[in-house]
Symmetry: D2
Subunit: 330 residues, 4 copies
């Protein structure tokens, strides 16, 4: 069986998924929805896919699955539409910036018994998967502490910041998902602190650019997340997991393994700078995992609930950073 | 000029300072106070030093400086005694577990115009000094975030825990000092979270064994400290400092640089496990810095105020972990 | 313009180039020659290419270039055939095991003014390219010494060894090419030493499994190559280049960046084990470079002369290892 | 029992051993021979040792052992003198630049049943000892290949070069000893190549500054040694040992573990630059090993034979580099 995809949205992430779907055995990129004519035409030419409206896609017999890569504020509506249309749904994170709206959409997913996978690409990064495998193999023993450092090479434009839902919902949300995944237990208490150090306009827009978060689970496991919108040396993505027996850590990926030494010392190149390069394999693995789950009728490795839980942690972090109080989740 | 020392206390740390003083040009180990006869005799034989009471030392014309290495609850009294006696004072951290008592002792130090250096050995570690030098040279730009991971190889006996003042005053205090030193600005807000994951008896004794702390300065600089009483792979001591231009980090020290590779992969030895080994050079540097300052009549690189400030952060962290609220320092 | 390819040979390396050609913009995989029916059919189905004989390919108007991936003893004949047919030729190394035969084939290439690129894939590895770029940028100064360690995960079957031309012509030939490329000057003297340590059957077949080679250029630059047919920890591929100003080195690629630490120390995974994985990007870059050169009418980055020179060094190494004397090239 | 030492020679290496002897429990630095008055007086004051002639030392009842740290051309005579005088002898490498003269001196050592340890400090470096321990523990299996890279930060003055015996006897001799120690079997064939790339005056003095050597044992084990008188990035000292089960390698020691990252990439400091710093622990271990052996009446870990064997390899390398032929040892 070949899983026939429609992709919604021909932006950067839509293109990434187009590449991944085309390269995945058992998957086919059949149709595209994209309102911008030029972008739509360019992608249609490259991949030989049809151009269709969302209504047409929902009604298409030759479409088994959709990949939702449109702006965030359209995700929940599209999930509901395609859940009702009986399509398997891969949706980019976040489902929505409002937890209430996410719950509504997930209710529809549940009622229609639809398949929904939310795109937390980092779970499919080979390095992070190897950390998770070490945990699952018992190598680190009982998990005690997770340390995540995640720093963007540079801040997005303030226009984006304003609609992003804020750093916790836009950037830290990936780390919340990683923390949940690696802790192996739901965080119930959130402490967070935010600062404006990178770009004063981000502060003027009501957001922070530098944050730290402490999560704690019922049994006392903790995760610490350190985020910044600035990392001059590349896209800084590190995790380490400490347990009763030891630690598993994933290091950064540099542009090359080359080191140059001279009178001034040893020099290595910066990190891969662009999330598409850093997570190229993760994006491919992610789509392959979705395809495999749908074809086998198995649960997807990430779900709408994962999207909701991460958002709830983001909301709690926002409240904690605002009030200076630990926030306990219901 | 040779700085003539009396050492108070022949325990582990007293022995470390005896080694350092003996090896430091311009310093001499003249007298020892140690109530345990056997320990006193052993050290007197090894170093050819006199055995004297604290009263005798205070009255000795041939003693210029004292190194206070006795139990914590005697530090403040001894500082006051030797400040009044006109001796230069090197005192192991902490000055006292009570900030009130510390302030009293520092008042005496101020009134007597005495020299007091508090032993924050990590500031004298060559790796951490190189990080600080990078900051001072402007290499990382304006400091934005400090990340400290500090994990002990194993928990001390609960009998010690009970008199230690708790993890924040006993263990994290080193990291509070490092954070202050590296942030270049006083932290004013403290958030902390504590768990019991390593040894339930530590919890029964009213302490935590796993903590995370977020510090924030007035301008928004942040430091994150991650502590555990467990690190099966050795004494884990890492710092990194992020700024507007980049990052400076100090890595761990392994038992050797050897790596063995085979069918199972690559293996490196554990970290140096014992703080005396890990910080051997730091202890030597620390005494040398004290001797240099006293001989030159210059300010000591660490002071009683540094001891007080670190303790205030520890007190604040304790309160935050208990109440779940950010604590703001006066 | 799209460069239309025929691939000759559907073995492991033919498949690698099929993937690379299909993924390279401006290249198309049009036809395949493969005598084994099953392999031919499988590849035709996967890529939608025609199946043709070599004669048909030579006569095809819709073929611009051929990729020769057949057994070594057919390379020279095929190069001559396709040079005369006016096709651009990409040929896997080696051109032939006999330098005389290589010279004949290159004569035809020259007479027909054909384009011939010999597949030294390592020149297209991003890490090694970064080393070369450091040299070209003057970062290491005048090149003085090149150190190459190249160890295969395991020995090939003796049946292959027997037709391989021996380790110098089969395995070290890659390192000879790297040495020439990095030294920036032709080696003129070769010293080599061979041993049988891995598999006695290799010795029985008249070959070595462990060799070291010293190359020296006219101006005295030296390269050292260390080869073994055994590396239990993966495919070991390292180079370093020393010059008057410093060194540039390329490290190995591990399966992941993950390190696991516990009471026994720190563990990293083995190296990528399979040359197709280790050099996946290199194979893609190599084809892209060939396509670019042909389309632009520019010289190919590697040529038949490169193939010949590397073979001459291999012949000299063989003689040196047999006689115990340094061999000077004409 | 305390082993009472006379040190012969107050130069750089004599001072290193004075420090080591003074710091070694069970050893005492009693007397010094040093013809230069100022150097003698300075050391006598620092260590409180007597100043004596070599004759006086040979006749002294309060001297158990001598450390010969005088110029190379005096070593053999002094060994003979003190062997006859019944003193335990620690002699810096080399015993002599002439193998014939070494054999004579060793004959006297044998006839007098004297204890003679030759100072190959690298065997006592903790990193290299850990490599050796891995071999001895069977971790790498049967040793197959040893790769040694040893590069000096800079060339010595030509005046020194002229009396040094040449690079193989002066510099590579350490690596010959390491190779013998790690191969676990005597090399019987030597191939070597020399160049002048660093300093033309070294060539004018009849020596090389850049050499590579291949050693081979009877069973076919090989060692490759790569030497240069130039390493702008510090004192480059690396070894790796390959065997049937895997590899053990020792990495360099940098000035600190600090890494600084910025827009240009990641930077680490140069290597420890001075052999006294790089091998500080090795020098201390070496003296401790000598003291232990003498006190316990056990064989010393290195002997006069080790000195001779390394010199024979150096002689063979010299001949091979001159003639272009492999040299087989008797």
């Amino acid at each position: 069986m070949t899983l026939r995809f429609a992709i919604l949205g021909a932006g950067r992430i839509g293109q990434a998924h187009a590449r991944a779907i085309s390269a995945t055995p058992g998957a086919a990129f059949v149709a595209l929805y994209e309102p911008l004519e030029e972008a739509a035409a360019s992608m249609a030419q490259r991949y030989g896919c049809d151009l269709r409206s969302t209504e047409e896609i929902a009604a298409s017999d030759d479409i088994d699955a959709v990949a939702i890569c449109t702006p965030t504020d359209t995700h929940a509506d599209l999930i509901e539409t395609f859940a009702k249309a009986g399509k398997a749904i891969f949706c980019e994170k976040p489902v929505d910036l409002s937890a209430t709206r996410v719950r509504e959409a997930l209710k529809t997913v549940e009622e229609t018994n639809a398949t929904l996978m939310v795109g937390f690409n980092r779970r499919f990064d080979p390095d992070f998967m190897a950390v998770k495998a070490a945990i699952d193999a018992g190598t680190v023993g009982d998990v005690e502490m997770v340390n995540i450092i995640s720093r963007d090479p540079g801040a997005p434009p303030v226009s984006y910041i304003k609609v992003s839902g804020g750093i916790f919902r836009d950037m830290t949300i990936h780390d919340f998902d990683m923390a949940r995944w690696l802790l192996g237990e739901e965080p119930v208490t959130v402490m967070a602190q935010g600062s404006n150090l990178v770009d004063p306009e981000i502060g003027a827009a009501g957001d922070w650019d530098s944050v730290n978060v402490i999560l704690k689970t019922a049994s006392g496991r903790q995760a610490v997340i350190s985020n910044s919108r600035r990392a001059t040396y590349g896209y800084d993505q590190r995790i380490e997991v400490h347990g009763s027996k030891g630690m598993a850590s994933a290091a950064n990926r540099h542009e090359s393994t080359v080191e140059v030494a001279g009178a001034g010392g040893y020099a290595r190149p910066p990190l891969l700078n662009f999330f598409m390069d850093r997570y190229a394999v993760a994006y491919a693995n992610e789509i392959a995992a979705f395809v495999k789950a749908v074809v086998e009728g198995a649960p997807t490795p990430t779900t709408g609930q994962d999207g909701l839980k991460a958002l709830e942690l983001a909301d709690a972090a926002y409240e904690s950073a605002k009030t200076g109080k630990a926030v306990t989740l219901a």
